[in-house]
């Protein structure tokens, strides 16, 4: 297996998750013990009733018991007042149900607190893991870890662990009571038990593999349906309904036949273990009867002994299944641990909150993604406070990387140059401070599955609908939204309502506008919007820019020409900088593009 350190790490993780739940689990185990004890007492009452009350045999019990009996009037008194015995049974039952109730509620409290801690810490961790981590890990896989692995861990701790505890408590207590009554008969009861446990354990280990094969094939069947549904256009357009049907039928039959096989194994296990248990009970019945005849065992003792045995033998069968399931959990713990051990984003210890209003300076910035060649080489430029900076660059020129670095989505290593705002190195500014002062619209924006108004106002709870509408109007979205039957309460992504690419971009722009940040970044964010709307939005935006520093990444000369300053990036280096007028005739990349775009008319006709 894994080395010790790893195992210790995992144990630590479990204890970390258990904080706040430990007390609940302690109470629940204690209650389980009390309830087991109550279970032990009823057969004793019955035994006394049969032997000492009804049959009036002389009694010799522990002094405590005798004192209690005498305090209630003695066995002879019970004979005429049998209701006392019935009441005693009910009293014990009351203790039992109360402790059982406590067990159940506290066990749930424990396990739900545990699940909550696990989910909350995972969610919090995931939100705070660096951007690069999210790029590396697949969404589906993380979800899996957060849902089914968490569920496995929960059932491991709150069902298997407490279950095993309960069975052990029951086992120990029954054995104590049985031994105190008749040690030989106890031996008869105990000897077959290892066999029953062993058989159940062995069966569950082997059937586990069969289950796995079934699960895999269920996955295949499910994937087949999924593919048929997502590919319905292809299926129909090629007229392959029959092929699909045949494929599905084959897998459907195969999968079913696997289960039929498992059915045989399971039924075999149930019936065989029934026989084993039945034989064990028979052994007790016969041996007990013989002891009653040949030695001094009392009928009441005999009856209660059979009860104890019954309490013991059924949970024993469960033990095998529970033990065999323990191994499953360790895989899940490992998978959850992977997320929990990933390093969160961290601020430098001397990080401060800065006003974020001054000039943005990139000074000799060099950067490479993990295991990749350098994407930025000695990039230097300044975005003056309150002015608009345009950035032009091809795919892979590193223009988006610049913005990611500015937003601290990736950390710029020490010694690779500096990025500063108002003269403060952003490494020394708190990440939250940086990001909350930068409004950024990505090329393919993500909208949350909430209403449109919630999406636009997501950064600020204090916004009124009219604030939101104003932002939407400036982003030229208002008209489209009011056309939806539910207007701003339309939920994004629900069936029937899909926003077009341009609408999504405009919603993200409106979202940025409500942030009213001193720095705004538009990363090719009008690519899916038509020219007229593009122009309208830009005009509206300029009104908003006010004192904000704005960085616009675009391919369009019409957009860039209005910027106060333009930086042309080429393969990670700054190729040109200047104003539109300076660059348009400078003979560089910018002027080439300028010419190609202004010469469009004739090109198009060709």
């Amino acid at each position: 297996m894994k080395n010790k350190a790893e195992r210790k790490d995992r144990l630590k993780l479990i204890f970390f998750f258990l904080k706040g739940a430990k007390a609940f689990f302690a109470v629940s185990i204690l209650s389980a013990a009390v309830s087991a004890l109550a279970d032990m007492i009823s057969p004793q009452i019955i035994r006394m009733t049969i032997d000492n009350v009804i049959a009036q045999k002389p009694a010799s019990y522990a002094p405590v018991v005798m004192r209690l009996v005498n305090a209630l009037g003695g066995f002879a008194h019970f004979r005429t007042h049998i209701w006392i015995v019935a009441a005693a049974i009910m009293c014990v039952a009351l203790v039992k149900v109360i402790s059982q109730y406590t067990f159940r509620v506290y066990n749930t409290k424990g396990s739900e607190t545990l699940v909550k801690t696990m989910r909350d810490s995972l969610f919090g961790r995931i939100e705070r893991l660096p951007f690069s981590w999210h790029m590396k890990n697949k969404t589906g896989d993380i979800i899996q870890r957060c849902t089914s692995d968490i569920e496995t861990m929960r059932s491991f701790i709150s069902e298997q662990m407490t279950g095993i505890f309960r069975i052990l408590i029951m086992l120990v207590m029954s054995l104590i009571f049985m031994c105190s009554m008749n040690i030989w008969l106890t031996l008869v009861a105990v000897i077959p038990m290892p066999l029953i446990i062993w058989y159940s354990l062995r069966f569950h280990r082997t059937v586990h593999d069969e289950f796995q094969v079934c699960d895999e094939n269920e996955g295949k069947l499910s994937a087949m349906v999924q593919e048929n549904l997502t590919g319905v256009r292809v299926v129909r357009a090629f007229g392959r309904e029959k092929t699909e049907l045949d494929r599905f039928e084959k897998q459907n039959r195969y999968y079913t036949s696997l289960w039929v096989k498992v059915a045989g194994s399971l039924a075999g296990f149930w019936s065989t273990s029934d026989v084993l248990v039945g034989l064990q009970i028979l052994g007790i019945v016969v041996a007990g009867a013989l002891m009653c005849i040949h030695s001094n065992m009392q009928p009441g003792e005999y009856v209660s002994f059979i009860s104890y045995n019954g309490m013991l033998i059924w949970p024993i069968r469960q033990l095998g299944r529970m033990i065999s399931e323990l191994s499953k959990a360790s895989v899940s713990v490992e998978r959850v641990h992977y997320i929990m051990k990933s390093e969160e984003e961290k601020d430098a210890p001397d990080a401060v909150d800065a006003p974020m209003t001054g000039d943005i300076r990139f000074d000799n910035v060099t950067f490479a993604y993990e295991n990749c060649p350098e994407i930025l080489k000695n990039v230097s430029f300044t975005a003056e406070s309150g002015k608009t900076l345009g950035i032009l660059g091809g795919t892979g020129s590193g223009k988006s990387t610049l913005m990611f670095l500015l937003d601290k989505l990736y950390d710029l290593p020490e010694g690779n140059g500096t990025i500063s705002v108002g003269g403060t190195d952003i490494r020394r500014i708190r990440t939250q401070c940086v990001r909350s002062h930068i409004g950024m619209v990505l090329q393919e924006p993500f909208l949350f599955s909430r209403t449109i108004s919630e999406n636009i106002g997501i950064t600020n709870d204090g916004l009124t609908l009219s604030d939101i509408r104003e932002a939407a109007r400036d982003a030229c979205l208002d008209e489209a939204v009011t056309a939806f039957s539910q207007g701003y309460d339309t939920k994004v992504g629900e069936r029937g309502v899909t926003l077009s690419g341009g609408q999504k971009q405009r919603a993200a722009i409106a979202r940025m506008l409500t942030q009213k940040t001193p720095i705004m970044i538009l990363d090719d964010s009008l690519s899916a919007v038509d020219t007229q709307t593009d122009a309208k939005i830009r005009k509206a935006l300029e009104k908003h820019f006010g004192g904000s520093t704005v960085i616009i990444i675009s391919h369009r000369i019409t957009t860039l020409s209005r910027c106060d300053r333009i930086v042309v990036l080429d393969k990670g280096t700054v190729a040109e900088t200047g104003t539109h007028d300076e660059l348009k005739d400078a003979g560089g990349i910018y002027s080439l593009i300028y010419q190609s775009q202004s010469g469009l008319g004739e090109e198009a006709e060709a």
Binding site: A93, F123, I126, E127, I281, L442
Partner: protein
């Protein structure tokens, strides 16, 4: 989300009538199961009698005669019971999985005949759950709930009968609490069903939150709203915790009631022990066993009944799926002549040339509230190349949907080779159509399986030729096992460009007369893009083709371009005409042109 709206449904006889035809084939098996179930319960009742005999006869009588017979009969009984359990459990499971299989099969078969409006109105996840989850609930109802019913009802009846025979008055006293308990249990069960439903809803909210928190992590960061997301999430998990603890209190009370009831039964027996002769300790103990053992079967019975109640929803959803009628159905006389989608009569099929005509077509999507086409007429002669352009989500697929007969026009006709499309079967039309999607959809299996999807009868030579024609041969040569390489679920083991090329080869193999191309927007590298472009040129050669274009520079040569905006065709003409018009198309074109030119210059450097 629709899975969560488990409204309370009330069907006649719990909806069993609606699915009876799926149970019919198993009626004999179920009868055997029931009989064996009664045997099992009978022996359970009998075992208590054995103990009574042991106490009264051996212990009470102080004798060991008949002990061997006792042992042998006992062993025989438990072996018989084991055999009954073995057979009935095995049969029950077999019935369960077989019913599931048949239900899934019929759902899947039915889905293959449904028209597009169903798939557009229902999400993949929703339909998927109908085929796989609902069916499995129904299967377990037919087997395990049924067996639970048999086992526990027969145990209760037999135990009651034995008690009544042995001591009528005591038995009546014990049995008196049964109805009381049953009422109490049903009360709890009703509350539990509701509570569980709420918990499931919260749980799926939490999963949705996780989904969003993970998929939107990047945006959460740029907006710096981690705290907000977390507090929303924590509120949801807290809700879950409270609700679960609340439910556990209910469950706890339920279990407590049950335990108190069985203790009460025991107390009654003790209290009224006078009704049994003092030396009949065995009978006394037997009564105690039955009294205590009665409660468990009652609980299981209530469980089975509540399964019956909750499964109604599944039955309803499943049968509703089977009841959905396709919007596009071939007329009986058409089926008569051309066959249906599963059993075509290819000998009667005419060849298809590829003339398409929209004749005064008006169209409205079945779930839409607006006419997207009004009195639209257009001729697409054989071999012509039509392009449809517009923003994402603008409704560019409408014409394609009509040509492929995925939908029928609301008014007017679509003519294929001069005859109304409805005069020939869907499969006839579809087998002459090639379809290449923008997100190429491959099926799990090998590359070869996927190619054969276009034409199951294609020879290896034909495959090779098709592959070469679209220059997919290099891609295939790079793959480890060539044509026999597994492509993974949905083709995920291949890159988008590779999938694209293979889907072109697949379309070529089908040798279609009409070709639909939903052009790629996905970012592929320049070389692959060139390959794809030349593949497109090869493929549309000599065929009637409709291209849904995203990159306008590729459709300049089309015979006719249709520009779509907000679902409607706003402009129509050749590239030159539309540019001259300086309208919507011109606008889109210049915008893209600027971007492409800039990209070209920047990337060329």
């Amino acid at each position: 989300m629709s899975e969560n709206n488990e409204k309370r449904t009330h069907l006649k006889f719990f909806g069993i009538g609606r699915i009876i035809r799926f149970l019919k084939p198993f009626r004999t098996t179920m009868l055997v199961m029931a009989l064996l179930g009664i045997v099992t319960s009978g022996i359970d009742v009998l075992v208590t009698q054995f103990q009574r005999y042991a106490i009264d006869h051996f212990v009470g009588g102080g004798t060991t005669d008949t002990l061997w017979i006792f042992i042998i009969v006992y062993i025989f009984a438990i072996c018989l019971q084991a055999l009954a359990t073995y057979i009935s459990c095995k049969k029950a499971m077999t019935v369960e999985v077989s019913v599931n299989r048949d239900l899934r099969q019929s759902a899947f078969t039915h889905l293959q005949t449904l028209s597009f409006s169903y798939f557009n109105q229902n999400s993949v996840g929703y339909i998927h759950a109908r085929v796989l989850s609902d069916t499995s609930r129904i299967g377990s109802l037919a087997s395990w709930s049924f067996m639970d019913g048999v086992w526990h009802t027969s145990y209760l009846i037999l135990a009651a009968a034995v008690m009544l025979v042995i001591n009528f008055r005591l038995a009546l006293l014990v049995l008196a609490i049964v109805p009381l308990v049953a009422v109490l249990f049903s009360f709890f069960q009703g509350k539990l069903i509701r509570a569980n439903r709420e918990i499931r809803e919260i749980n799926s909210n939490i999963t949705a939150n996780f989904n969003e928190g993970i998929a939107g992590a990047k945006t959460v960061k740029t907006l710096a709203i981690e705290e907000k997301m977390q507090s929303r999430f924590t509120a949801e998990t807290e809700h879950m915790r409270r609700k679960s603890v609340h439910t556990s209190r209910l469950r706890g009370l339920f279990a407590a009631t049950m335990n108190l009831a069985s203790s009460a039964a025991l107390a009654i027996v003790l209290w009224k022990h006078d009704l049994i002769a003092a030396d009949e300790v065995g009978t006394f103990s037997m009564f105690m066993s039955y009294a205590q053992g009665m409660m468990e079967p009652i609980r299981w019975l209530i469980d089975a009944i509540s399964d019956l109640i909750t499964t109604q929803v599944n039955i309803e959803r499943f049968t509703n799926l089977l009841a959905v009628k396709s919007d596009v159905v071939d007329m009986p006389e058409v089926v008569e002549k051309y066959g249906d989608s599963f059993y075509p009569k290819k000998e009667n099929w005419e060849k298809l040339d590829g003339d398409i005509e929209f004749d005064d077509v008006t169209f409205q999507y079945p779930d839409g509230d607006e006419k997207v086409l009004e009195h639209f007429s257009m001729k697409i002669p054989q071999g012509a190349n039509i392009a449809i352009v517009g923003e994402t989500g603008a409704g560019k697929s409408t014409l394609v949907n009509l040509v492929c007969r995925f939908y029928e026009p609301t008014e007017g006709r679509v003519l294929i080779d001069g005859r109304d499309a409805r005069e020939r079967s869907q499969l006839w039309l579809h087998s002459h159509i090639g379809y290449v999607l923008q997100n190429p959809h491959l099926f799990s299996g090998t590359v070869r399986d996927n190619l054969l999807y276009g034409n199951p009868d294609a020879t290896p030579e034909e495959i090779d030729r098709a592959v070469q024609l679209v220059s997919a041969d290099e891609v295939i040569a790079r793959l480890e096992k060539g044509l026999d390489t597994d492509v993974g679920e949905g083709g995920d083991l291949l890159s988008t460009g590779e999938k694209q090329l293979i889907s072109f080869a697949r379309a070529i193999l089908a040798d279609p007369r009409i070709l639909i191309l939903d052009e790629a927007t996905a970012s592929v590298d320049t070389i692959t893009e060139q390959k794809i472009q030349s593949a497109i040129d090869t493929v549309i050669e000599g065929r009637t083709s409709i291209v849904i274009a995203h990159r306008l520079s590729t459709v300049r040569g089309a015979d006719c371009i249709l520009a779509v905006r907000d679902g409607k065709i706003v402009e129509k003409g050749t590239h030159r005409e539309l540019i001259a018009k300086k309208g919507y198309y011109y606008d889109m074109y210049t915008r893209q042109y600027e971007d492409e030119e800039a990209a070209k210059i920047l990337d060329a450097n």
